[in-house]
């Protein structure tokens, strides 16, 4: 086929609406701002895993749609979330990524969150317990009852992950993604899990491109080593299933690990209740991923940092009851697939970094195709079509022309 001139290049592809989209949705700063407002401030977001807050007064901070959030385990063992902002002068209260409030700190007291600016203090339920020079400054016009923290809805669910939403009126977490988790809920909840691996990547790309990559497996062309060893027909026969709210599952198959060069079967360490060596993936709108590959669980949490910048946090989890030897093997299983020298994760990052480089804000809109139909199996791009139909609804924009309001796509599943 001949190369195309500029007009030909800009023309719509000969596919149905809903089988392609306009790259402005990956690069337009205005669309990005609206996504923070209309999606990220409205939905449930996993922040971390409860095993990262094992003791009373342990905390972890995060950011959702630029809003600083702190989650802390109270002395009653309940994990609660608050806006990490002092109601006095708007200072970020806790600046460390994680730690404990149990001990005294240079500008705080034990068991309280303290704003170092003027020493206002809060307990683990978000009650204000100290205002410096309260009587002298406010006489009785303002008191601690008026200055509690903003509490956020927070639940520990689906294998011990800590979920938070900035939206007091959001649907229940169960309604939000319970169906999508059904396929792995048994194995995730049979016994307590804990995190054995954490790394993060800050990539110059749009957050949705990472989700796209997770929700189609057609890009195994990039994973040379994956492709030349260990694949079988069952790999390609896995089915994508779409759920309410934009979520998708990639169905399981039995991985023949012993056919991977240098690998052994992972049946012995497979999660409880999971048939040996099975592999399920849960892709959640707007961009979280839970990937259970027999013996190890991987979780990707994305934090958009700009239209062309995303932080992806990768966690690896195993069973809390692991013996040291089991744990070593499990970590090995995790790292040989998803570690820095594993089979594919770093290659996926190269893919989305390349897309990001070609779609910087201000770059000319392009047509991005996701029109493959292959019986909903893993080379089918149904996951992306389902996702972008949901995206269009939340944004009231048409993915193929985001200047227009949402309309159900011709190619809707």
């Amino acid at each position: 086929m001949p190369a195309r001139n500029h007009n030909q290049w800009k023309a719509d592809p000969p596919l149905k609406d809903g089988e392609w989209l306009d790259s402005r949705i990956y690069s337009d700063p205005e669309i990005y701002e609206q996504e923070l407002e209309d999606i990220f401030k409205k939905v449930w977001i996993p922040i971390c895993h409860e095993s990262e807050l094992p003791n009373a007064y342990d905390f972890r901070t995060a950011t959702i749609a630029r809003e600083p959030v702190v989650v802390a385990r109270g002395p009653d063992n309940t994990v609660r979330a608050f806006l990490n902002v002092c109601p006095h002068r708007g200072m970020m209260i806790e600046r460390r990524p994680s730690g404990s409030f149990a001990e005294a700190a240079p500008s705080g007291n034990p068991k309280r969150m303290t704003c170092m600016f003027h020493g206002w203090q809060y307990d683990m339920k978000g009650n204000c317990v100290y205002i410096s020079r309260e009587k002298e400054g406010y006489q009785d016009r303002l008191c601690k009852e008026n200055t509690g923290l903003r509490r956020l809805r927070c639940e520990v669910n689906f294998g011990g992950f800590v979920w938070v939403t900035l939206n007091d009126k959001a649907m229940s977490l169960e309604d939000w993604c319970g169906e999508a988790f059904k396929c792995i809920r048994g194995p995730l909840e049979a016994e307590p899990l804990d995190v054995f691996h954490y790394h993060k990547a800050v990539i110059g790309t749009n957050y949705k491109l990472w989700h796209d990559t997770n929700s189609e497996f057609y890009h195994d062309f990039m994973h040379y080593h994956n492709r030349v060893t260990g694949f079988n027909d069952a790999y390609f026969a896995r089915e994508n299933t779409a759920f309410e709210n934009g979520h998708v599952n990639v169905g399981s198959f039995e991985v023949q690990y012993d056919e991977y060069e240098g690998f052994e079967s992972r049946a012995e360490l497979s999660f409880p209740g999971l048939p040996p060596n099975q592999w399920y993936m849960v892709d959640l709108f707007p961009g979280m991923n839970f990937n259970l590959r027999g013996s190890a669980l991987r979780c990707d949490i994305v934090t958009p940092l700009g239209p062309d910048k995303v932080m992806i946090e990768f966690r690896g989890l195993g069973l809390k009851s692991d013996t040291p030897e089991e744990r070593r093997t499990r970590i090995d299983h995790h790292n040989t697939i998803w570690g820095p020298f594993g089979r594919n994760l770093h290659e996926d990052l190269i893919g989305v970094a390349g897309q990001g480089s070609a779609m910087l804000p201000g770059s000319e809109p392009r047509r991005i195709l996701h029109g493959r139909h292959e019986d909903n199996l893993i080379h089918d791009e149904v996951g992306m079509r389902h996702y972008y139909d949901e995206w269009g609804k939340w944004m009231n924009r048409l993915p193929s022309n985001p200047s227009l309001p949402y309309a159900p796509a011709e190619a809707a599943e």
């Binding site: 005294a104 007291n109 034990p110 309280r112 203090q121 339920k125 317990v129 100290y130």
Partner: protein, 124 residues
């Protein structure tokens, strides 16, 4: 028998305080120049560990966090910030040792945290 030997009198220098543990009970011995006082190791205000935050000037003990003060000579509250009394254990010096009368560990009541975990919280 609730008199317990805490330490040698010469192990706490004048106008200093030191934390000890006796039978699993933490206690601070303060030497205010004219005698000794024994009290629980946290400030009754915000549980600040007094062995770190407390200092003695004259006979006055100050918690440096929010400047609550107690007169160790009289055991009374002093200064303009202090809102709660300090709990003191009875103390005596005998044969060069400090003893304190501790029946059981005294624990202050700090702010009771409200119950606010009801389902309606986010709907109001």
């Amino acid at each position: 028998m609730s008199w317990r030997r805490i330490c040698a009198a010469d192990s706490v220098a004048e106008r200093t305080l030191k934390k000890f543990e006796v039978d699993g009970i933490p206690v601070i011995i303060a030497n205010y120049g004219e005698g000794f006082r024994a009290f629980p190791p946290v400030c009754p205000h915000m549980e600040e560990p007094l062995e770190e935050s407390g200092f003695i000037e004259g006979k006055v003990l100050t918690c440096s966090k929010h400047l609550w003060q107690w007169d160790l000579g009289t055991t009374e509250m002093t200064g303009s910030e202090t809102e709660k009394p300090m709990h003191f254990y009875e103390v005596k010096e005998e044969n060069g040792d400090i003893h304190a009368f501790i029946e059981s560990e005294h624990e202050y009541e700090f702010d009771e945290e409200d119950e606010m975990d009801d389902d309606d919280f986010f709907n109001s």
